[in-house]
């Protein structure tokens, strides 16, 4: 009769953590940072179809690094969680904190009970009515949650790049300045982050989305194509996204196509 080898719990957890960390570090980074009119999510991702940043709900967005199939599965679970909650209660009752808790429990439970931890790192961001209400949660493969302020970088050599991001970030950045900072962080050499960008990251290799502050309904918007080119260009004066198109916030009926409570604007502004 064979006896299984004894492996100490410390060793077991360390091995799993090393395994997950290596998988996550192989990928490219994602930066999530607040700017003066919302939250920008910027990924170093040349694909137009396989997204690393996505919409979860009205004011909640998702960004992830690691294995695509694993974080895609979590993203879908997040959309289901948010839609079910919004349907059962009200749209206002879907929060990033609730979703971050559900993710943390899931990641933690997989980490301790299953043979392979999830090789993912996730950011759940919620744009608030003012900059103080913005929330950014960073979740790691073992289910630990960090409540980040202002700006965060995950994946790749995140530890090395965090310093560059923290040095450059201010709460009153315009969108163009925030994107320039994110691009500088993503293009830096992890071995010598202070020496400046070593790669050229153009609009074609960046996936950018924003959560706009102050919209009554869906605030998630992808920024791409010509608008992203203009925002990234140093010569072009464009520094902010133009106001949402009429579809999202018609002048006559404010807000994204509303739900049953979609009342028209009254002339007296009430």
């Amino acid at each position: 009769m064979t006896q299984p080898f004894y492996v100490s719990p410390e060793q077991l957890m360390r091995d799993r953590a090393d395994f997950a960390r290596k998988g996550i570090a192989r990928g490219r980074s994602v930066v999530v940072l607040c700017f003066d009119a919302g939250i920008a999510l910027v990924a170093d991702n040349p694909s137009r179809a396989l997204h690393k940043v996505s919409e979860i709900y009205d004011r909640v967005a998702f960004a992830a690094v690691g294995k695509y199939n694993e974080f895609e599965n979590l993203r879908v679970a997040g959309v289901r969680y948010a839609d079910l909650r919004g349907y059962s209660y009200d749209r206002a009752d879907v929060t990033a904190r609730g979703l971050a808790n559900a993710y943390a429990q899931t990641l933690g439970s997989v980490f301790t009970t299953e043979s392979k931890p999830l090789e993912v790192e996730i950011v759940v961001a919620e744009v608030g009515t003012s900059a103080e209400d913005d929330q950014i949660y960073r979740l790691t493969y073992d289910g630990s949650v960090a409540d980040e302020r202002g700006a965060v970088v995950i994946g790749g050599a995140a530890d090395a790049l965090a310093g560059v991001l923290a040095d450059g970030w201010r709460p009153d950045l315009s969108l163009a300045a925030a994107l320039a900072l994110a691009r500088r962080v993503l293009a830096s050499d992890p071995a010598a982050p202070a020496s400046g960008p070593v790669r050229e990251l153009g609009p074609g290799t960046l996936e950018v989305a924003v959560l706009e502050r102050g919209l009554p309904r869906r605030s998630f918007r992808r920024v791409g194509g010509e608008l992203l080119e203009r925002l990234l260009s140093e010569q072009d004066p464009t520094s902010d996204v133009p106001p949402s198109p009429d579809v999202l916030a018609p002048d006559a009926a404010p807000g994204h196509p509303g739900l049953p409570a979609d009342a028209p604007a009254r002339p007296d502004g009430s």
Binding site: N73, V76, A77, A102, V247, P250, L259
Partner: protein
Amino acid sequence: MPATPAPPPGGQPGRLPAPFLVPGGSSFTDFVGSHDPSLLPAGRPLPVGSLAPGLEPPHATTIVALTYPGGVVMAGDRRATAGSMIAHREIEKVFPADAHSCVGIAGTAGIAVEMVRLFQVELEHFEKIEGSVLSLDGKANRLSTMVRGNLGLALQGLAVVPLFAGYDLAGRRGRIFSYDVTGGRYEERGHHSVGSGSVFARGALKKLHRPTQGVDDAVATAVEALHDAADDDSATGGSDLVRGIYPVVAVVDEAGYRRVPEDALADVVRDLLDARTAGSREARRQPTGEVAP
């Protein structure tokens, strides 16, 4: 309410239950059905029998829709009735389904509003999971499934009959779909109306609808058809000038759904009533005149 994930049998407490993590499947209704069917309208068994006469639930009434070259206009009156009583004066029966479509409801108001809520989530859910928007035919078919799911209640007298309209981004035109209680889906040409006043509204639409008219004329036609329905059907409300209550009018074109603001509607209604008042005065002055009141 199990909106917060309940601990699955044998699983870790707090962890997202298995149905949340099943790959594939972009339908919200299918997901809720696998997770907790009691949250769906069709998932709640009802006892047999019918409602006592005094408990009759509010009914929502007339909806009209018509196309114009750039899109489609849908309008609904604001009255809900329970028997011969007015249950509500300001109910809204025309809702945006998503950015490029709208849905109007006639029938049992409570069930209809729940169906619309589910339909809205269904479309948004698909859009978020798939990253693309359903085709207009796809949306119309989803609604068809929901109406069919309500057949049991319809047989007990709690029917819901929606009217669906939207801008077809592929075909670049407005389209209208009507339904029957069994979920049958029919595309309508030009215009359609549903609800208790629909007979009168349809007569008006037949005379007033010009396929080539612009959006402002289309809005005026929709409002006029509703007023004609309210004239003859006690369950359809006209405009309430005393309280400032006007029909809900939605326009869906290439730019998306938008609701016509109330001050613009007030002008449309005033012009309509002025024209009819003048016509009626003229008719009284010349008893042989041909102007209808």
